[in-house]
């Protein structure tokens, strides 16, 4: 953690809150898209 904060653990927590029926690949895809959107 430098100049910021490592979100890895927090993102894992959020993934657990997503619907259990959602495939893991879709959850990771959503996180990846979120990272890109928030970086624009």
């Amino acid at each position: 953690m430098e100049n910021g904060k490592d979100l890895t653990q927090l993102l894992e927590e959020v993934k657990k809150m997503l619907p259990a029926t959602m495939p893991d690949a879709a959850k990771e895809g959503l996180i990846q898209r979120w990272l890109q959107v928030m970086s624009y």
């Binding site: 890895t8 959503l30 990272l35 624009y40």
Partner: protein, 304 residues
């Protein structure tokens, strides 16, 4: 978008007209001494450093940080869901075919310049060219096709931000290599890229013809005469959208529209050309609906 709400910072802000959005150029994503780390693993860098630094709400103590993060991600889910509903309504209620699928790509160089901020990023092309090229290569996998084979319609949306600010040599050196690899991958997957190309496109646009026929559908910002110049240069490889004059569609007579449409078809042919308008239609009053129907009828039925 709701994903920015409650995050303590919004990278976009409205212009004085209250409608058009502008991007904040103080990107806060990538500072000078972090570029090599970014190149090593861009996704890891966003997760571990850049995103939390950019959004103050993520710096808060638990559980405020997780609350902000959850709200932001659910805001994106809401946006995706609304977009899907809007598309469904357009298709089912208004019988409007969707020409774009949910995938969109950008030249990796555009993202590098965005992350550095435009002012710093343009300077990087001179100060640290090898790092810029390496960063573009590192980002490129984000935009690869989501599947080895894709339907050939709807198309993938491919926007360009920076070509008008690059000279032809910079364009070929920094933007084209990684973008070309992406275009080749979509060509192999079988899904064309729709490219709206603004500004000066002449020499740069000719590189599109390096790719196999059917890779690109390009909407050039150009006059009718410039369209024919472009068609002569790249029309056998690239599908081009014709800029039918919007002023005629709005203010001309139906007879004028029919006559001009036939003239266009006579000259442009019926292969590799898609009839479009010289400016985007943003509201119902932008066009005379009877004229638009006449244009459509001629395109469907007239063959020279």
């Amino acid at each position: 978008m709701k994903c920015y709400q409650g995050m303590g910072y919004a990278p976009f802000f409205p212009s004085p007209d209250g409608v058009t959005l502008q991007a904040d150029d103080s990107s806060k994503i990538l500072v000078d001494d972090e570029i090599d780390r970014f190149i090593e693993d861009p996704t890891k860098f966003l997760r571990e450093v850049a995103i939390a630094r950019r959004y103050p709400s993520l710096q808060k103590e638990s559980p405020e940080d997780i609350k902000a993060l959850t709200g932001s991600i659910m805001g994106l889910v809401d946006f995706i869901s609304r977009s899907a509903n809007r598309q469904k309504a357009l298709e089912e209620v208004y019988q409007t075919p969707m020409i774009l699928n949910s995938t969109s790509i950008q030249p990796p160089l555009d993202i590098c310049l965005l992350y550095r901020g435009f002012v710093k990023g343009m300077g990087d092309l001179y100060r640290r060219p090898k790092q810029v090229q390496a960063a573009a290569e590192a980002i490129m996998p984000w935009y690869m096709p989501p599947a080895p084979k894709m339907p050939d319609f709807p198309w993938v949306f491919s926007t360009f931000l920076t070509p008008d600010y690059l000279n032809p040599r910079q364009y070929e050196k920094f933007l084209w290599p990684t973008y070309k690899k992406l275009a080749e991958a979509y060509s192999a997957a079988g899904c064309p890229l729709l490219v709206p190309y603004e500004g000066r496109w002449d020499k740069k646009c000719e590189l599109f013809a390096e790719l196999p026929k059917g890779t690109f559908v390009v909407y050039l910002q150009c006059s009718e005469e410039q369209f024919f110049e472009a068609q002569a240069k790249i029309g056998d490889k690239v599908a081009l959208i014709y800029p039918f004059p919007l002023e005629m569609l709005k203010n001309g007579t139906k007879e004028e529209v029919v006559k001009h449409t036939k003239e266009v078809i006579d000259r442009a042919g019926t292969t590799g050309v898609i009839m479009g308008t010289s400016h985007v239609l943003n509201s119902p009053k932008d066009v005379n609906h009877d004229n638009l129907k006449a244009l459509s009828d001629v395109c469907l039925n007239y063959r020279p």
